[in-house]
Symmetry: C2
């Protein structure tokens, strides 16, 4: 893991062609070509997981003020950070329109039209869109932005509370699979009452520990109960002929997933991309001399074709610069596997493979098994990155048995677990006293005393310095 | 082609689950699951074509007023239809922000930072984004909207005028290939001076003739010359050491492509989707009786697997409704090929295939060649839809040798070609007199007299009733 994460992160985004933050609006950046490809491959994974039993849709970006304002608790949670469109052309609009901060109030009035009967349930839609928050805090690309360019939001409606609770579990499984594929470790917790999504019954969240020890919330799942159903009058005729309100859930992911791929896997040399999301999974670097140049390049092309036939993304770096610079560049850009090929290698019918996550160089014979051998190395990289990530998380997860230990443990870059009675006032007191945020409840426990109130502890809770 | 296109189009969007226009903002609609899939597969085709030598990026959606206002001609063309964000949270913004109507003024200030030397050229980026126009005219889903949800815009920069002209030709070839893959006929013309893109040297456009005889602009390509380069100071150091302004082009496509797929190919029964963009390319309809139900369904699953292994998108409609209703639904939704399978077919080891574009029923043996036979039928559908589309265009393309013929020809649903001297005043007089719009110049000619001025004709021009 990198030292001085904040500076490293700032630099790598520009150096690796991920985003450019010089756009003339604070908190809004450009996805550059290399970053865009990482984003694309990452989104392909979640889409594939959701497409199994959700359907993709696309809602308008603007929300009329009357709709946004309908759900009182919800609007209260967002009103300070909504951007408003008030003018069209030269004229004032009759009603101001919100840039969506999230889409509940855009989607649910339509659910009220679409859902009529129990046969319309469950309804499971998702969309991937841009959303907007007028952040007054310090912004940081991909982490705290004013335009969230990649907001995946799923919205489901169910006939019973039980089914909605099952859906929450399904989402947790989907997110686990998603983050596992990205090699990201995570902590799952149930957010405390005072930090749940505005309008939700309860909120489950995935957090990662970034290299600086601060946690980053990278996925949230909310059981909305019947709050929005009652506000937007979303009812269905049940089998028994009665009209009932639906139970709803929603689940979100954002650009922050990319931030954590970059942050968790990166090292001092640059990115270390999990093969599944790397724009190039294999980068071939020809070592070119005047003599034998054509033959070496021809062989590189042949290798590329062989690997592409296996479904791999491969590029050849044939730039007219010294090989050392190429190695440097691709270490920075995090290509998982480099294959080096010079005239002597060609004579010996081998290529030198270098994994981004290991320093060892491996000779591979250029034969029919090359593609399988390459896939094998890529799988090893995938597993190793996961392992490194998990190890970091384990090393930065501590248990505190007294309140006074907490600040030091957190300042040392850890997330801290502690026994808690679960009482809201007690929780807020813990936050006040330590100066940090309770992430939430990790699990129920049946023994021990609360770290603060000394009552019987009900939960193992997590506290951390958060982004 | 359908009669009463306007009503048919309105109905089919809802019936086929393409879009829902009941969203509470005029001119902004929801992409429903089936429509979303058509949109997705359509965009995959253009992305694949562009990815060969363009790179995908993503710019912020908001543009500061100072940037938008910098290019005088450009802003004049858009100022009446820009939505403005003036408030963030409870406070007025220091500077109002435009919802992008198109992204030249978002992108080009960054090009000024990125382009330094001739080795940075050509620069070819594209993005697919939502854009906004405060339309005061009557809106119509996918055709005239206030949120263009699917705006593909490519922006290139070049060292010389010659290269920028070559780029225009490249874009024309890319668009041709794109529309050909969709089976869409098109007319290519150079827009008249008074109808070119605000800020462009010249504009090339692709139009289709919709079933009601009105033309719909579905693609535009602009040579921007050095207009924006001078405004945004986009310069490069050339090989000769001199600092020069770049030459730029841009090219756009929108939701209208989907509108024309629906409109051009549809018939009274519903959609007829080109296989490449159809959510399901093959729909299997089991004919189920109590006896032999399991066997029939098992065989359907087997066929599905066989076809999916060939890369086809296949669904089985096993709903518990009568087969006639299923046929009706899938004709409406335009699935290119239906395979019917009942117990007797299973005994005979056959399936009955029905192309959406033909009424004939074809027996296909259930053997190892089934997938090839199905692909063959899908290819025939693709070709036939193109042929039907082209025939319609040819039948609705007429030549007028006098001005007085034009209105009647256009009212009868035609696009009209005529000889023109090319003079702007003369062109505007033709528009005034006929009441229709000159689409542009189709080709240069060397004989004949202008239909209006009686001067020597320079061009074959097109005039039409436009959307």
């Amino acid at each position: 893991m990198v030292e001085n994460f904040s500076e490293w992160f700032h630099n790598i985004l520009e150096e690796a062609n991920i985003t450019d933050s010089r756009y003339p609006i604070k908190g809004m950046a450009i996805w550059m070509p290399y970053g865009f490809q990482i984003r694309k491959h990452t989104m392909e994974i979640i889409k594939k997981l959701l497409d199994k039993d959700h359907e993709e849709v696309l809602f308008p970006m603007l929300i009329p003020e009357t709709e946004l304002a309908k759900e009182g608790i919800h609007v209260k949670g967002f009103e300070d950070e909504v951007y408003w469109v008030t003018k069209g052309g030269q004229s004032e609009l009759n009603e101001q329109l919100a840039l969506r901060p999230t889409s509940e109030t855009a989607i649910y009035p339509m659910y009220a039209l679409w859902i009529r009967s129990h046969i319309d349930l469950p309804l499971k839609y998702y969309q991937i869109v841009n959303t907007f928050r007028y952040e007054t805090k310090h912004t940081r690309p991909l982490i705290r932005v004013r335009e969230i360019t990649t907001f995946k939001e799923a919205h489901t409606a169910h006939a019973t509370k039980k089914e909605s609770d099952e859906q929450i579990k399904d989402f947790i499984e989907i997110y686990k699979e998603f983050f596992d594929e990205l090699g990201l470790p995570y902590l799952i917790s149930k957010r405390p009452e005072w930090d749940k999504f505005p309008g939700a019954d309860y909120t489950m969240a995935f957090d990662v520990i970034m290299p600086d020890g601060k946690t980053l919330q990278i996925g949230t799942i909310h059981n909305l109960g019947q709050t929005f159903a009652k506000t937007f009058d979303i009812t269905f005729e049940d089998k028994d002929g009665e009209h009932k309100f639906v139970y709803q859930t929603c689940a979100g992911l954002s650009d922050r997933v990319i931030a954590s791929i970059i942050g968790i896997h990166g090292d001092e040399k640059g990115l270390r991309l999990p093969p599944k999301v790397s724009p190039n999974q294999v980068t071939i670097i020809p070592i070119l001399f005047k003599k034998g140049k054509e033959e070496v390049l021809a062989k590189c092309m042949e290798i590329k074709k062989q690997l592409e036939a296996k479904g791999l993304r491969v590029n050849i770096d044939d730039r007219d610069i010294r090989p050392g610079k190429k190695f440097f560049d691709w270490e920075l850009k995090g290509t998982p596997l480099k294959l080096e090929l010079g005239p002597r290698d060609l004579e010996n019918n081998i290529t030198i493979a270098m994994r981004r996550d290991e320093t060892e160089k491996i000779e591979i014979t250029l034969d029919d098994n090359l593609d399988d051998n390459v896939c094998d190395l890529l799988n090893k990289t995938t597993n190793n990155l996961s392992k490194i990530g998990l190890k970091f998380q384990e090393e930065h997860y501590k248990f505190a048995s007294s309140l006074s230990e907490i600040p030091k443990l957190i300042e040392d870059g850890n997330v801290v677990a502690f026994n808690w009675c679960g009482d809201t006032e007690c929780g807020k007191a813990i936050e006040d006293e330590t100066g940090y945020n309770i992430l939430g409840i990790k699990e129920e426990i049946s023994e021990g005393k609360c770290i603060a109130s000394n009552e019987d502890a009900k939960y193992l809770a997590l506290i951390a310095k958060t982004y």
